[in-house]
């Protein structure tokens, strides 16, 4: 919608009747929208697959491919299922309306279409689409394309499920004194660069970042999409993160800036993962003892003086070839039993 005025949209009018097509187009153009039209369902689907539309006004009664078939095909097509469809029809009987709504139509306008109602329905549909697009954009920003796609398909249901995954916590060591010693703009720039690198490594290994607070982040591997080798992927991501920070420090050194160091802690096991919050604002999160343990282990990196620490469950699932070293059992706050912790070495 960027090239159009505020509130203006690209609208597709699909109607086999020329009078209807002209009239709808005229009404929509008077509202400031950009209108394209199709004289049957086949042409409409072709246009929808070639160009981006914000809303479709669909007649049901069309030769060749009718409105019902268009609705059904749009529902099956991931790229089209979220384009709002307003059915404009003069079909007799409430059962037709019900069928349209069941097939995913957003709204129903009886013909002849009242211009005032048309304006209101178009406005409502565009607003709904805007919210959906925003939601998708947020998802894209915080999840890998695969996860985003999976969530788009399965929908946003609040509530969790029990699953096995690896949780990672990471933060910049001694960040507060570092931030206090430099102008705020530099701190924000540092954080942006740091997050960009960490996201690359995490997403690249199939993880998603579920939380960012200050210089700290939480990521999960194995949820919402099950990954059989989530421990391996998480550890590989951690190694990449440390490597990337090393490269980043070289750039910083060249600019006369102090290097940064990160601490990464991970734990694997059962947890509850899902959307928590309200319908209006929800975040994907994981909770459970495994998550708490990962957070404690991350805090322990500072004491142990190691960049990457993992719990026993993660360690046991690792392939040979990843250098690890047991640091013995550590008593963590909130855990009745001491947990064995392993340090992960650099990649060969």
């Amino acid at each position: 919608m960027s090239d159009l005025g505020a509130g203006a949209a690209r609208v597709l009018v699909a109607d086999d009747n020329k009078v209807n097509r002209l009239l709808l187009t005229r009404n929509l153009e008077l509202m400031g929208h950009e209108v394209h039209s199709a004289e049957n369902g086949r042409v409409a689907l072709d246009l929808l697959r070639k160009q981006r539309f914000d809303v479709v006004l669909l007649d049901m009664e069309m030769p060749e491919v009718d409105g019902f078939a268009v609705l059904a095909e749009m529902k099956e097509d991931l790229a089209l299922r979220d384009v709002p469809v307003i059915v404009t029809s003069s079909l007799e009987g409430i059962d037709h309306v019900v069928r349209c709504i069941e097939l995913g139509a957003e709204d129903y306008l009886h013909k002849p279409v009242n211009p005032v109602l048309l304006k209101a329905r178009i406005g409502a549909s565009l607003e709904k689409k805007r919210l959906r697009d925003q939601q998708k954009e947020l998802l894209r920003r915080f999840a890998t394309p695969e996860v985003a796609k999976d969530l788009e398909q399965s929908g946003f249901a609040l509530g969790g499920r029990r699953l096995r995954a690896t949780v990672m916590f990471c933060d910049i060591r001694d960040f507060t004194p570092l931030a206090e010693a430099q102008p705020p703009e530099e701190t924000i720039e540092l954080l942006n660069n740091y997050y960009a690198l960490m996201f690359d490594a995490i997403n690249g290994c199939g993880g998603i970042v579920t939380l960012m607070i200050g210089d700290g982040l939480m990521a999960v591997f194995g949820a919402p999409i099950t990954l059989p080798d989530h421990e391996q992927r998480a550890v590989r991501a951690a190694q990449e993160m440390v490597e990337l920070v090393g490269l980043f420090n070289r750039e910083r050194a060249a600019a006369g800036k102090r290097p940064i160091q990160v601490g990464i802690g991970m734990a694997s096991g059962e947890m509850i993962a899902g959307y928590a919050g309200t319908k209006a604002r929800a975040t994907y999160t994981c909770i459970g003892d495994t998550v708490n343990l990962a957070a404690r282990i991350e805090a322990h990196t500072k004491i142990a003086g190691r960049a990457i620490l993992i719990d026993r469950a993660t360690h046991e699932a690792l392939h040979a070839g990843i250098a690890t070293e047991s640091l013995g059992a550590v008593a963590f706050k909130g855990f009745s039993e001491a947990a064995e912790v392993f340090a992960v070495g650099d990649r060969d």
């Binding site: 009078v19 002209l22 009664e61």
Partner: protein
């Protein structure tokens, strides 16, 4: 009191919201397209083609109502709901009322378009 061929209020509303020039174009389009819809009715009635018959009646209903041709809309709606076999049972003059009404509508629209 016989109802007018074209409902003045509906036609005025159409002209007010879309403009005189556009309405002229829309009327001309209808007068060009409608004869083939009536032809579709005749042919599909003769062939017993239910789908084509229903679609033609449906289009006439929809367009009639757009211009405020309410009697034409009602006649077309009756054909749409009745279906081809029922209309066929009405005899050879089954389409005479709608054909006559269309001629009245066409004459009225030809005047209204230039007002």
């Amino acid at each position: 009191m016989p109802s007018p061929v074209i409902d003045a209020e509906a036609f005025a509303a159409l002209r007010d919201t879309t403009g005189s020039e556009f309405v002229r174009e829309l009327v001309d389009t209808f007068l060009t397209e409608a004869p083939s819809m009536l032809e579709d009715l005749r042919v599909s009635l003769a062939d017993g083609d239910a789908e084509r018959f229903r679609r033609a009646a449906h289009s006439l209903k929809s367009n009639g109502n757009t211009f405020g041709a309410l009697a034409l809309g009602t006649l077309a709606r009756d054909l749409e709901l009745a279906g081809v076999s029922d209309v066929k049972s009405r005899g050879t003059q089954a389409l005479a009322p709608i054909e006559a009404e269309y001629l009245r509508v066409a004459a009225a629209l030809a005047v209204l378009r230039d007002e």
